[in-house]
Symmetry: D2
């Protein structure tokens, strides 16, 4: 039995799993051996799904199976470990914010985007309007809260949502070698139910932040959230961002280096809603979550890993639709913490 | 002439200096050569001091020379580069928050501290009371805003401020091989002028966060802020934290590994007041600033540096008392950005 | 020369005009004599229009003539004093909030409405979303901030905006003996430009406060704001509310007594945006303003007036489109203060 | 049986007791008859004390008897009705804010005070610091929230708390014909426990609002709150304010007319903490409450009362230490509502 005996959520247990320094892993570890570990951890943390709830704010998301938990890890050498419910497709939701940010930067240039959206954590929840009003902000706090993400989406080129999303799909296709599809049911459910996002949209329109027609922007936003992917996809995207936007297999630049590195910084400081600070402290890797239960995480290629060198520059996809009260996968976040600490993935 | 010609503060200039990937440094670079570069950069960024103002909220800090700018860098191999106004002693101010957090964790255990102070960025300014009240928080946001720092100080062991600070001084002495002294004038000036901190203190007292007598806590807090150090000291402290709390010269553990790594995460997400997100994005290394104009920064030993390998695990001290409107050294932050980008120090 | 020489806006001038107690008016004052006074005061306060700005948030309102100032006063004995620009039609804007509140109470019963909208001043501006989110309110603060007014409008009976507004028009007709018309240009301008109100609407929809379809509710709201009236109309409506909803000429009950009295209380505590407290303190009568520059004010019939007995139960309409920074008619508010103090109209 | 059968706190019951217009009181009502009514009402509303809690934030206040309820009414003709627990002395607490405001205005002039404290309701709780910070206010919201009251107290003339309070005591003596005493136990309990007020004090000191030494100001503030009075005293003070500051028995001016009238306006808009709007709407008379369970209320002499003419210009004192969640006497507020509605005291 390789995993530790108890995992609870108290601070003392958090500390117990926090990285103590490299365990003396036998560097001859084969992929099979890692697989065995990960299987154990997944089955252990699956119990934590009972403490969370699937998202209810979009009706169709409630249909997810609360017990699901799956993980996919791709090293920069192509090595893959998959475990648990690894084949369930789900919608990308807020994880799309990383990609539209990347696309907008590629289309407009980094300066243009950063002039219009800040990169500061908010201390507040992802769907807050208050934080815009209370602080009389000059620009939305960051591209990963809804206000900032909708602003970024409004800056995508194109007149229609399909035009705006074409480069987003192209980027996905370049990374994944297939073109993910829109889940039309989820899209329609979001479009018809997400009143808070419409409120944010009108607020942004009134304050002059939006650069496209509001309806087109929201349509685009709801569509980008409703693209269906798998944890293998997330792992692969994460691995490419981890390697500064470059495909390590052929050195092709898919995302400009500057943009990829900025995306990693944003993921670390703002990626996990208002638990981003805790995730940075207790897990220590760039990540972004979505309310469907997905998390993309990665170990930057710069972070030296003495024990498992092929884990530098790895990407990780997690799926676990039972959420905690911040909107993050309750079991997924614990599974990531455990793996990051065991394999010493933290950038710090 | 090695440095670039223009450095302004617009987003497009920020982007221009953002890391593009390793410059092809000649790895035979000698310390002398680095010295020449750094001298150039310091003299360049010194001009930016004219855009800032020395701190005025503590009267005695206003006496600082606005034009000063100095930097000290210590590699984990002991190599040192110093430039500019490197010999001016100044008070440590908020940088002390890193050290009292470390000491409190060593005394009480990490779990005890994390149960009582959160590790989330606030999105607000360092001296905010509002953020406690508005969010009905269970615990102060993080140890680096004043509310959290005062709470941490209240958890230091001892009945008097001198008892409480003895382990703080001992830690400094262990790292620096000398015992820094209190600047009594600054201490008295802070004690007599910092009404906002007293307001925060009484607020914390009323909400039950404080674990020591308020007056003793505030006395301790004002004293810890008034310890006089130099940028060489900051660089050395930074280097030890960078190396997970270990002195690389003799492998002695000065700070427990877990605590040092958590401190680095906190510095990255919360270290630069409400510009922490921008610093993470544009500079990308753990850092902490103080209103006297000091900044401690470091490159974690895990961050691989292909070009200047001895810079992995380096510590940096900066002094530049002209501050921007967030309270960070206006020239210091730009100098750090330039160096981090040229030498590729970002963890991302 | 009857009016005082100087009227500025400093606190000391406010105090100078504050009620000192009954001037020794000759009770034989004729309407002609009052007319002469009012003419003097209007011409005096017209100069203050230069300090304000016409509303710009709805494009068409910018076309108003900033210099206009007019007043109409109707005593409960039918005596009328009119002065200045008394014949300019203008849209009723936020003053309609008083009337939709009255209509909703008549349709649904007072309890139903008060269960769903509070009657507390907010301390914030009329178009705030933040105050809903910051305070996690159970119901919008009051019917006179936009969030509360839109909620009230959603409670009007009927499926379409025209059905919903029919009783509103009927009430106006009963009070005015004619049916005011919608200013279609203003309505379309509001409908197409008021993004903040749409943001509020979606926020209310998401939090479950709205009782009708959002688009119908907003259409109704924009229409109710765009009804065109004159200051004579406002004076007459004010006079009826002043007399507890009864037409003093024939004792007909137009508005239920309870509703009329509650409306007066709301006007006093919440009627003048975030200057309501100052208006209560310095003028002391129930009033409601709108961004087109109208103000309705009244002296409750209960307030004994020793000097000008026929002024108990009077209604006042003011028009002056130059606004102060709170959104109130800058000259109108001063003119009202002067008259209320000279004629001792304050309820206190 | 004269009182109605059921009194609950739902909105529909509030409405049921809301003023419907003058009951047909026999104007020959003797004091004895009124007494009988009031006795009935007091015994009825005493049951509501079970729904409240005595104040706990100052330890000594917890010793109050939760079941107590008493009322004293003084007409401007000297007629008195007393009922229930009318002889319990209690500390004046926040009701003192009315009197220090009056004294400060008498000492400094109204303009001076109004330049430094606003007269706007806040929408927030009485002990909020957030509202100062969030709104970047130029001056505290009003003299009846703690921040404004402490600011007013700092403006009282004198170097020591006793010097500052001498005119406050003199005013009380002039109105009551005796000099109330400080309850030293309560004073010491407040002084030693009210950390929130100290936090507010330091906040005000830092923002430059305070005009006296902070410790002297707080000492004065805690003393003014700890003066012991009875409901007869409150009724008499209320009656004098109701009559514009004049003793109706001998026409002596005790409080300048302007100041008395402004105090009444402030009581109506800001007197009952964050239930002030509801009190204005449902009761409709100027009032001020304190956390010891006292309420001072009054019917302005201008408010005509057709049925009980001697009730125009009456003052009312209530004591009922069981508080609701806003800090107001839970039974007292209902008793006042009932009486105001039955006797038609509302100013509206």
């Amino acid at each position: 039995m390789k995993c530790m005996n108890k995992h609870t959520d108290t601070i003392s247990e958090v500390v117990a799993t926090m990285v103590q320094g490299a365990t003396n892993w036998n560097t001859e570890l084969t992929q099979e051996w890692l697989q065995e570990y990960v299987d154990d951890w997944v089955s252990f943390y699956r119990k934590r799904t009972a403490d969370g709830e699937v998202a209810s704010y979009i009706p169709i998301l409630e249909e997810a199976n609360r017990d699901h938990l799956g993980i996919s890890i791709v090293g920069n050498n192509g090595m893959t470990v998959r475990s648990g419910d690894a084949d369930i497709p789900f919608t990308i939701q807020s994880i799309s914010k990383v990609l539209t940010f990347v696309v907008a930067c590629m289309e407009r240039g980094l300066s243009y985007i950063l002039d219009r959206v800040d990169v500061e954590p908010t201390g507040g929840s992802f769907n807050s309007i208050m934080h815009l009003e209370i602080s009389r902000v000059e620009k939305p706090f960051n591209p990963f809260v809804n206000a900032g993400a909708i602003t970024v989406t409004s800056m995508l080129e194109g007149k229609t949502s399909d035009q705006k999303l074409e480069p987003f799909y192209e980027l996905l296709e370049k990374m994944l070698d297939y073109r993910p599809a829109l889940n039309v049911d989820v899209y329609e459910s979001e479009r018809d139910s997400s009143m808070r996002n419409r409120a944010i949209g009108y607020y942004l329109l009134e304050t002059g932040f939006l650069e496209s027609d509001l309806n087109v922007t929201l349509e685009t936003y709801f569509k980008q959230c409703s693209v269906e992917i798998t944890i293998d996809d997330l792992a692969r995207i994460g691995m490419i961002i981890a390697n500064d936007g470059e495909n390590p297999a052929n050195q092709e630049e898919i995302i400009p280096r500057q943009v990829a590195r900025l995306a990693k910084a944003l993921m670390l400081t703002c990626g996990m809603y208002d638990a981003s600070g805790k995730f940075a402290a207790y897990v220590g890797v760039p990540a972004k979550s979505g309310v469907s239960g997905g998390i993309i995480a990665l170990s930057p290629s710069r972070a030296r890993d003495e024990t498992l060198p092929f884990m530098s520059g790895c990407g990780i996809g997690v799926y676990g639709p039972a959420l905690d009260d911040k909107g993050n996968s309750i079991a997924g976040i614990r599974l990531l913490r455990h793996i990051a600490n065991q394999w010493d993935l933290s950038v710090f």
